[in-house]
Symmetry: C4
Subunit: 204 residues, 4 copies
């Protein structure tokens, strides 16, 4: 569009995205409220108060891992990109918006652990992120932005597709057994292997 759209524009976009990922991942903790206890409460009371927060701790851990993984994938893709293309801006902003919203869905699930609606919302949201992630990473490693290394680009796309399929699995498992949903994310290696066999892409 305007002049000056060089690799510098790409660098700034990556920097801004990195900052949003880092802030969202660190903000997760402020939704876990410190338990209130009477002065000189027993040790057992303290342990019990912490035990009540276990769902919040689990939610924190899952979301931390998930945002970290999406950040890692985002970066792997943008390392391969060789030039900036304005078309990625809308998709990347949508992806960052869904990432920035993670603290809410995480806290909602943590506060009402095992309830179908919060769990369903959480994993449906993950599915949405995985979709946008696939779109952004495919764009960054597609013909309009790719620098070199077509084999590595295929790997990025296969990886992003596996995450999407695993999120769909987690969402479906969550519909049946809410607390078992995280197990769905463990199917990522399976999908990567399957897509590798199907696509007959060169091993990297």
């Amino acid at each position: 569009m305007a002049a000056g759209k060089t690799d510098h524009a790409l660098e700034r976009l990556v920097f801004f995205s990195d900052a949003v990922f880092a802030i969202a991942i660190t903000l997760l903790v402020i939704e876990i409220h410190v338990p209130e206890l009477p002065y000189r409460a027993s040790n057992a009371a303290y342990w019990q108060a912490l035990a009540h927060l276990i769902p919040n701790f689990i939610g924190f851990a899952i979301s931390f891992g998930v945002i970290g993984a999406f950040w890692s994938g985002h970066h792997r893709a943008f390392t391969l990109a060789g030039r900036y293309d304005g078309g990625i801006l809308v998709w990347n902003t949508l992806l960052l918006g869904t990432i920035a919203f993670m603290p809410f869905v995480t806290a909602f699930m943590g506060r009402h652990y095992g309830a179908p609606v919060p769990t369903g919302l959480y994993w449906a949201w993950m599915l949405l992120i995985a979709l946008l992630n696939l779109r952004v990473n495919s764009f960054a490693t597609g013909p309009r932005m790719l620098g070199a290394a077509a084999g590595a680009a295929a790997d990025v796309r296969r990886r992003s597709t596996s995450v999407l399929l695993a999120a769909a699995t987690a969402f479906l498992v969550g519909l049946a057994v809410p607390v078992a949903a995280p197990a769905g994310m463990a199917t990522i290696p399976l999908w990567m292997w399957l897509l590798g066999r199907l696509g007959r892409t060169a091993p990297i």
Copy 2:
């Protein structure tokens, strides 16, 4: 003023501004409070609790898009700037201050959706940001800072002016029908086209 005011000073200013934009955009979410529900509430109760938050979700989405757009414009302008000038510091700090304040006006509007005062405040604030944005971007692409590319600079100014006129439209629409105000922002392409015809600037 002091020595050592080179392009490095420009880079640091951009970095600091980027960080404030990224933090403000990510902080929007923490004003959306997780609904409290009794243990084993029905699914319908969960959906209803989420439905009550729809205004907050809309506010989050609008503000995320708006801050993202202002960030993008800020960057387009500073890419064109070739040298640092201390005169921009006050205007840029004022702009960052209004951006950092967005989570408050967003939460105020979301909590009291459709009420004239919060909606009016939100869009008046947007107008203020658009004014400061025009000032900062004109400065960054003006004679004291511009590196090259005068045609692209005219485009940045036309774009910033369009955003200002659209924010004014949104503010006026909001005075009459609060919930319809966001539609005013959709007039940006119209203003760009109009200003392009008026200014007879070369198409870019």
Copy 3:
């Protein structure tokens, strides 16, 4: 101490400091809580609710300006520094700690506007920041770190000393008339002029 302590260490320290400044400045807003109002409250009630928050808005504006100014001074000093020296680490961490604490003293003053203790604490805190600021900036432009430009370094020290004297003025004014304290910061140009006359440093 260890090997690899090059200019790179300086760059990282500046980056980390920038990030803490940017986060602290943006976190100021979350201490301003959105007013609760009954559904379909009158416009007058909304305006009144906002009027009650004016002290918070003033506190936000002052602290935003103050952190922004200290950030700007920090950067001016570190631009002049030519090499890293481990001795600055403790002072810089102390300075960042007092900056990161600003949201608390700001909210405390805003919530209890005009009360002597919160106002006194606020301006005493400012004094502490100004002291640490003078220490850090003198170190960064002192013999162990300075790159070149001794004249500009004298300017940085004079500027930091002026801020300290202005903060002391604000603190003393605040002891007598709490709400008038901010006026003390307006004496910065006066102190700079006075120190310039006393020191007979070359005009920059």
Copy 4:
């Protein structure tokens, strides 16, 4: 794994880690809630309200120093690293996760100062961070990532081990006398000296 894994990948990892450290250190303050006091409360009431927050202030100060110190050690180690190795990603993410969780354990200890469970949890958490810190820093200065400077690398490892031993001391002291636990961290120089004598590594 994929192509493009150069020093650039290392730089991005350091940037992301820096951002998480900076955000976590700055978020500590928002867990300290501004005391509520009636309008026109006496100065004595204000001082008393602040006195009640002293444990929170102490917690803020300790955690600020601790996160600052871990950040500093993290950076010292990564300055020595010469090339990126994907194996560090999981360990580094775990370390960042425990750092990002610090605001919770800090607030929990501050709110219930002197109680054994919150204090024990705090120092056990510190122990966990010190363990992960040792793992990450040993990896970054180990054969798979080290650039040069083997002597400096030994120093990094000795330093990280000392922090771990000091955290263990603090944890054990905290089991007996909760409020005396911070003194355990003061044993760091002792451990460094001891490890230096044992390892007979060259003085640096």
